[in-house]
Symmetry: C2
């Protein structure tokens, strides 16, 4: 009979501190829920001489992570990044410890290595906190929907960019100013690249796609566009047409057709979302994820996608699950990659588009523009003249669903027309 489950923490930043707080202050609850005492046996940090939250007992801190993981049943990795996190996780597993991690970068880049090590060692790998912070998302997709077929996941998975876009929509500020505001409020890092360029969202998309479609999808296979090209004009036009711009992670199963078998497309990009869609109402740094499955239909999960305290809740939930496994000698789900679907490029994505063009303001222009769409088989839903400026007019064209490759070819053709002065913006339209 196991009467204590030993937990080691690697990294004591914001999430680490809050996780330690939960483990150290909820001891009675955790023991009752697990059926054994859950003991935080140590916290590995690079230096002993850093001022820490008073909840952290000084004697728990060690710089010797190898010694620490050797005496743990569960290792929580909250260091982030690929190395040294990967080395630490692999060593922990080879010592027989299960691992809880929030490391989306490592999972997105090299998840299969971690899964293989977990399988070889007979231990668990859990990572609820890697996507959607406190929101239960990994567990529902990997367990609750295991009897169903997921067709699409569509979500706001990066709080920083959602805050920035929300700020732009609310105040009319441009991107640079909104990013500064986000930094001042603590919602963006000093170097915001990982967020605004969509790297963070792409890693999460890879993780969700892998689980949803039982296929290995790495971050490198995710089409990624950040929000840096989004202008205050785009934001204003979105509002004018009853939309809001969100950075979305979209992973979807494309159907088999006469042209060939379907596959998976995973993409991260800014998109127009109709105001009537529940994702449009997700404000500030919140996250929300739509999951569509054949039998379940549409499901939405909403909550705080980041922050030390909410993320620590997800981490500690995983610790409890694994601790129960330690007590009962059981295991959670392993990697599921049997479907092994082809991962397609952005060219094969099928969605709707809004194209904003500056054209010459004279008769016959619309016919030429419409012909460019028709040539590539892209069907137009609406055209609207956005503004006339002397010799020029701005056109807003919204298409029906079309392949991304066809839309890209259309845009190339449009760019070559004499009557088209400039293609001002191209945005995908989702959630209609």
């Amino acid at each position: 009979m196991v009467d204590v489950v030993r937990v080691a923490l690697l990294g004591c930043g914001t999430v680490g501190t809050e996780t330690a707080r939960l483990l150290l202050t909820h001891t009675e609850d955790l023991a009752a829920r697990v059926g054994a005492r859950v003991e935080l046996v140590g916290i590995a940090e690079r230096s002993l001489d850093v001022e820490r939250d008073p909840v952290i007992p000084r004697e728990l801190i060690t710089t010797d992570w190898q010694e620490l993981v050797s005496r743990a049943d569960i290792v929580i990795e909250l260091i982030g990044g690929v190395e040294p996190a990967r080395t630490m996780i692999l060593e922990a597993m080879s010592n027989g410890a299960s691992v809880v991690t929030a490391n989306k970068e490592l999972l997105g880049k090299d998840g299969p290595t971690l899964y293989a090590a977990a399988e070889a060692a007979g231990v668990d790998l859990y990572y609820e906190a890697a996507v959607g912070g406190a929101i239960p998302l990994i567990r529902p997709v990997r367990e609750s929907l295991a009897g169903d077929r997921v067709t699409r996941v569509l979500g706001i998975v990066n709080g920083t960019t959602n805050y920035v876009l929300d700020q732009m929509a609310t105040t009319g500020e441009d991107l640079a100013l909104a990013v500064k505001q986000a930094q001042a409020q603590g919602f963006a890092e000093a170097d915001p690249t990982a967020d605004v360029e969509g790297f963070d969202a792409a890693a999460k998309a890879a993780i969700l796609a892998s689980l949803a479609f039982h296929t290995r999808v790495s971050t490198a296979a995710v089409h990624r566009e950040g929000i840096t090209a989004v202008t205050s004009d785009d934001v204003a036009w979105a509002a004018e047409t009853g939309h809001v711009i969100k950075l979305l992670a979209v992973v979807e199963r494309t159907p088999d057709t006469d042209a060939g078998p379907g596959g998976i497309v995973a993409r991260v990009h800014p998109a127009l979302v109709p105001l009537s869609h529940p994702l449009a109402g997700v404000r500030g740094a919140f996250n929300a994820v739509f999951v569509e499955a054949e039998a379940a239909g549409p499901l939405m999960f909403y909550g705080q996608g980041a922050g030390g305290v909410p993320t620590a809740s997800a981490v500690t939930g995983d610790v409890v699950t694994i601790a129960r496994h330690v007590v009962h000698g059981s295991r959670g789900p392993l990697e599921s990659r049997y479907a092994d679907l082809p991962v397609l490029g952005i060219a094969d994505a099928v969605t709707r588009y809004q194209v904003r063009l500056r054209v010459a303001d004279r008769p016959g222009v619309l016919a030429q523009v419409a012909q460019a769409f028709a040539t590539h088989g892209v069907s137009i839903e609406t055209v609207r003249q956005a503004a006339a400026r002397g010799q020029h007019a701005d056109l807003l064209v919204v298409t029906h669903a079309a392949r991304d490759a066809a839309l890209a070819a259309t845009v190339a053709t449009l760019g070559g027309l004499d009557v088209v002065e400039q293609v001002l913006s191209v945005l995908r339209v989702e959630g209609a």
Copy 2:
């Protein structure tokens, strides 16, 4: 090594048929996800001579449920009601089978008996489909939030009443007509009592409270008010004040105070929800549940709360989880009731109220009305004169948070005042 997991189905109504369809058509997916073949070995029904969906092979149907459960690893109970479902589940467990059920009535009334039998037999008891249909809710509360402390669950858990109230709000129809519409659309039963009187929601509230607070809460301990007293006047006044009326299930942890230790209050009743709250936007037969936890903060889960196909998704997800346990020789979580908190009555609930009164239209009336609230320590937030009708006027009083007992005493005092002609309605205000 287990190479087949045998599943028996008890009951072949709408959910049973759709569950059978998933089990019979997703065989390859299920085998890959479980690591063993999942075989539907039989379906127990009262009669062999009923026309069934062509997906159901005639040879799977049997009237001998005892023989059927004796050769199953997993028994899915979709008969509903207390008996004979309970007898069947207990017999299945004593034969060593794990059980998946969607039976909220039985779980709410006698869950502990089922849990005790599961524990004695060393088998699993899963019931994701009992609350919120397709929405993953049981698993997130019982597993994902196991490292956190849930403080409150607030949700729309009955699709029929949500459809009826939505219909009343949209068309101005009265309750009787809206119920008829719901019946015509297939959203309400011929006898709608279980839904409109709140019995269904109360059972779900009991299940959620038990899980969220690690305490046994039976349906009998849930304060229950249905929607039958909701008038089109109430609905119109809700809209007028920026609210919508929803039938809510609320289970919450009341704080320890100087007056005594806190406990749990579980209640089901119509409530005013501000239009700005995400629950206000839940239309038709959809369900949505807010869960508030100390560390995670607010979480929302949204989706189809009923219907054969969505519910079958939840049932089959549970089957996959248990089938994995059968393959790996492991177990899911057992009953968690260690907290054993006192379950308090409605008198101890603390919330806000909107009281609509018909009063004499003369000077000094408001002072008397306000004094009635003050006498019982209920603080008024706003007063609005709703309509003057000759000698009478209607007052709309919204309070700050107060104990339900204090509000009830206030209403009794108001009823005794000469100047109060009638207390037209009292509605709780939630989600502010």
